[in-house]
């Protein structure tokens, strides 16, 4: 087993919701190793996205800790910006492409160095959007936009890739194609994908279930 790249230990997250406090995550612990594809399933409101934001260092847990590449995410989260850009690829339910930048420029906005810039064209080729590199997001279909956001997420060849419902706006066939591309393109990274659709996680080595902010392990189709 490879060294774990992403480790969560006893993570709890409480959010203020008006006068009351919501316990969004409770005692979550998980570990994702390099080259591992972990799926995270759960119904809407179960805490999938919240866990992903905590794992990405964008939100500090109320209790517990999250380590990426052996180092805890800084708190406040803004201090972890450089580490996040370098080590993390983030794919969201909505692609959030910057509308006045082309697909290539959206990827370049994340690129850190010449190697990352050199990676754009071959990565776009493998994602099937090489012909769209100079197109603006408004000209793309939903699936093409999502692939462009995957290109941006992977441009630095990140050690960790987190994807939050990346297929939510796609039909089943397109969704499976996107998951396939993501899994193949990030095969060396620690990959964690959330989805409410079990079909999208068929390629995952492990599938974790989350309900009411608590994790319950479930074997994935590819689990040995």
């Amino acid at each position: 087993m490879s060294e774990p790249r992403l480790v969560a230990r006893d993570v709890e997250l409480d959010l203020e919701d008006g006068a009351r406090t919501r316990h969004v995550l409770r005692g979550v612990g998980l570990s994702v190793a390099a080259g591992e594809f972990v799926g995270l399933m759960g119904p809407s409101g179960s805490g999938k996205s919240s866990l992903l934001f905590v794992l990405s260092g964008l939100r500090a847990p109320t209790k517990g800790s999250v380590e990426a590449l052996g180092a805890a995410w800084p708190n406040p989260p803004a201090r972890g910006a450089a580490m996040r850009r370098r080590s993390l690829g983030l794919v969201l339910q909505d692609p959030f492409l910057i509308p006045y930048l082309t697909v290539r420029e959206n990827a370049e906005a994340q690129a850190l160095d010449d190697a990352a810039h050199a990676r754009i064209a071959p990565l776009a080729e493998s994602l099937g959007i090489a012909a769209l590199l100079d197109a603006f997001p408004e000209k793309l279909s939903t699936g093409e936009r999502q692939r462009a956001s995957i290109l941006r997420a992977l441009v630095n060849d990140p050690a960790i890739v987190l994807a939050d419902e990346p297929t939510a706006h796609l039909d089943a066939a397109s969704g499976l194609a996107v998951i396939d591309l993501l899994a193949r393109s990030a095969e060396r990274a620690a990959l964690l994908v959330t989805s409410h659709d079990p079909r999208m996680l068929e390629r995952a080595g492990r599938v974790l279930r989350i309900a009411d902010g608590m994790l319950a392990h479930a074997p994935g189709p590819g689990a040995g």
Partner: protein
């Protein structure tokens, strides 16, 4: 699994950290060829692709800048016109008795400065009134021996543009053409209190010629005009002192010293003193200009900052995702501030250029025909109007810096993504 060399992770990524530490310690650098690439987040790219969104801010700054320059610049007319009227004092100094009794002899004071004086000769002096923006301005009318007039014109770099110089055959005065135009006078006309009771110049002076050049003056032949018997007793008896080449400053200093050493009955009128008087008379003008500029800049800065905040609201998702993928708030504030600086800077430049063009046309069509001197290219209004973009950028920096620091990318992502 192959280790990634281009990734510097946290403390738990030994290979990556070693690479990172070697860079910090000046160790061997990896062989990565650096290519200068255009940053897609550079402010100019956004501005060129979203021109319509940023144009209102630029337009506000341009309009207010133009307004400020157009309002402030004409105020230099007071000083510029006055300076043109006292410019002849750069060529000579006037020593006059205090009061108009003629009892004291100014030549007594001049003798004290003999070492620096080339020539001194008597003159009668009066003023020729011409319109100012508000009230009147005055240029000197000197009545001297007609033989002195060509030399004085040469020293003043003035030329006879039409008519002829006054002499025994042509009694009268030569008048600067700007003053003549402002007064509506031409060769053959007469001016003075005997012609027009409202005129402040004693006597009646026929115009025999017009002068052109920077300094403004009127020169006439002493005792040659038809009204000399009436005029001479009323015109103060002065002495014009012409210093040796390069010694005017020393000559003026000697004259002032002589006055303080027993020749108190005389007054020394030189260009430095007259400039100081003019500056003193207009000393409060900067207060007005400062107030107008500051108030305008404050209002415009708030408007521009408001527009910037509104524009920022429309770019929430852009900045949320940039924060989420690892751009620092500081870098994004710098990007936004630079965008604002470029827009307001360009707006200021356009406003200045428009104002200068309008002022040039205004000066030609309205001021010059009235004998008013306005300096179109004036640093004061430009400096004052600079407050507009500077204040706009500063207030925008504060407003957007606060907005970015409090922007929660997760909230934005979840609002849209569900």
């Amino acid at each position: 699994m192959r280790e990634r060399r281009d990734r510097a992770g946290g403390e738990g990524a030994p290979a990556d950290m070693a690479w990172s530490v070697s860079l910090r310690l000046g160790g061997p650098r990896p062989m990565v060829r650096r290519v200068k690439r255009a940053d897609p987040l550079r402010p100019t790219l956004y501005l060129s692709r979203r021109l319509r969104r940023v144009a209102p801010s630029g337009a506000v700054v341009a309009l207010v800048t133009a307004l400020l320059v157009l309002v402030i610049t004409p105020t230099n007319t007071f000083l510029e016109t006055t300076r043109r009227d006292i410019a002849p004092l750069e060529a000579f100094t006037v020593v006059s008795p205090i009061g108009a009794t003629g009892a004291a002899d100014p030549l007594a004071a001049v003798s004290a400065a003999d070492a620096h004086v080339e020539r001194a000769f008597p003159a009668r002096a009066m003023w020729v009134r011409h319109p100012m923006l508000v009230g009147d301005a005055f240029c000197a009318l000197l009545l001297v021996d007609s033989a002195e007039i060509p030399d004085l014109l040469a020293r003043l770099h003035l030329e006879l543009s039409s008519g002829h110089l006054p002499d025994a055959e042509h009694p009268g005065v030569v008048l600067h053409e700007d003053v003549a135009r402002a007064r509506g006078l031409k060769i053959g006309d007469r001016f003075g209190s005997l012609v027009n009771r409202d005129d402040t110049t004693p006597g009646a002076h026929p115009i025999v010629g017009l002068l052109s050049g920077a300094p403004r003056i009127a020169l006439g032949d002493e005792g040659a005009d038809a009204m000399s018997e009436f005029l001479m007793p009323r015109a103060t008896h002065f002495v014009l002192v012409i210093a040796k080449p390069g010694e005017k400053e020393a000559s003026d200093a000697a004259l002032h010293a002589a006055r303080s050493e027993g020749h108190e009955a005389f007054e020394v009128i030189d260009d430095a003193e007259m400039r100081a008087r003019a500056d003193k008379a207009l000393a409060n003008l900067p207060v007005l200009i400062g107030f107008v500029s500051s108030a305008s800049a404050a209002v415009v800065a708030l408007v521009v900052a408001l527009l910037a905040v509104i524009a920022f609201q429309g770019r929430h998702e852009e900045f949320a995702i940039l924060l989420a993928i690892g751009h620092t708030p500081r870098r994004l504030v710098t990007k936004l501030t630079t965008e604002c600086a470029i827009v307001t800077g360009l707006g200021w430049l356009i406003g200045v250029l428009v104002a200068l063009a309008v002022l040039a046309a205004f000066e030609r069509s309205m001021m010059a025909p009235r004998g008013l001197v306005m300096r179109v290219w004036d640093a004061r209004p430009l400096a004052a109007s600079l407050l507009v973009p500077v204040a706009s950028v500063l207030i925008t920096l504060v407003a957007l810096g606060r907005a970015l620091r409090t922007l929660d990318p997760i909230e934005v992502v979840q609002r849209r993504g569900g």
